[in-house]
Symmetry: C2
Subunit: 145 residues, 2 copies
DNA sequence: CTCAGTGCAAAGGATTTGCATGCCG
DNA sequence: CGGCATGCAAATCCTTTGCACTGAG
């Protein structure tokens, strides 16, 4: 995991001041590098972190490319660091508890997917930028229950 | 497109009474067979259709397998008929206007994806049930603007 | 007729915004 | 110090729920 000074540099490098809420958000996401809900982030935060501040921090760090967000199948916002996210990856969601984990596909498969995605552009006039695969399942814990 | 009597049969076949809002929902979805937002459905409805009624109808027809729902990248509910959805398919979302369209991949590619998805079960202890690919892009209309 | 289904209004949950105060640089 | 960022509270947006009334069977 990165050190606090490193996170400060990261923020400043994007023209963002290194404030406590932003540093804490980065650290929480690094501590548990999988998509986390707003609720989880708040409860991991030590001091007081206002919801509005968190939402604003997410929006800023997202624009700066330091974090990624996604929407869970039930419509809620999840957040993860870009450390993990720099490698192209996908998400598996648990239908039981709504938790999510990251997975990667082989380069081969990714190439095949991209090739077919390109066809969409040709056949529909769309300009395609990215894709993400959402996999639904039941996690180990929820299977046991 | 199906006729009204056909839609009645469909509803009754699932133990649902054939009421105006339900018939209208089915018809609207068939008229424009792509994922539609709540807002779009309401504005396509002729008479008065209460939001609460629409949400309840969606929930019932979803349980009955007559429609499918999904969550757009901005977290809103989209709905489509199962007519189109019976074939396994994926979605392309426009970043400009949030519209969505359906696409299909080749059987070959689907098989490859499923094979890798199976690996998740083995390596993570998850029980995987389904996958869906979300593709982001810009639609023809939004490209022009 | 009778009860499931509807419309309306109010409640809920997630996210956003306004504003006075506080902390970073 | 000066101004951007925070916390708090109120506002908003989407969705759900409660309840009295209506229409399908």
């Amino acid at each position: 995991m990165e050190t606090t000074p490193e996170r400060k540099v990261k923020l400043r490098g994007q023209g963002l001041s290194a404030t406590r809420p932003r540093l804490e958000l980065l650290q929480i996401l690094e501590n548990d590098p999988r998509p986390q809900s707003i609720e989880e982030i708040i409860s991991s935060s030590s001091g007081k972190l206002a919801l509005s501040t968190l939402y604003r921090a997410i929006s800023e760090l997202l624009d700066a490319g330091l974090i990624e967000t996604l929407v869970s199948p039930d419509g809620k916002t999840l957040v993860e660091t870009t450390l993990q996210a720099t490698a192209h990856h996908h998400h598996v969601f648990c239908k039981g508890c709504d938790k999510a984990i990251d997975i990667e596909f082989s380069d081969d498969l990714e190439k095949n997917i991209e090739a077919e995605v390109k066809n969409i552009e040709i056949s529909n006039g769309w300009k395609v930028s990215d894709h993400s695969i959402e996999i639904l399942g039941i996690c180990e814990q929820c299977t046991v229950r």
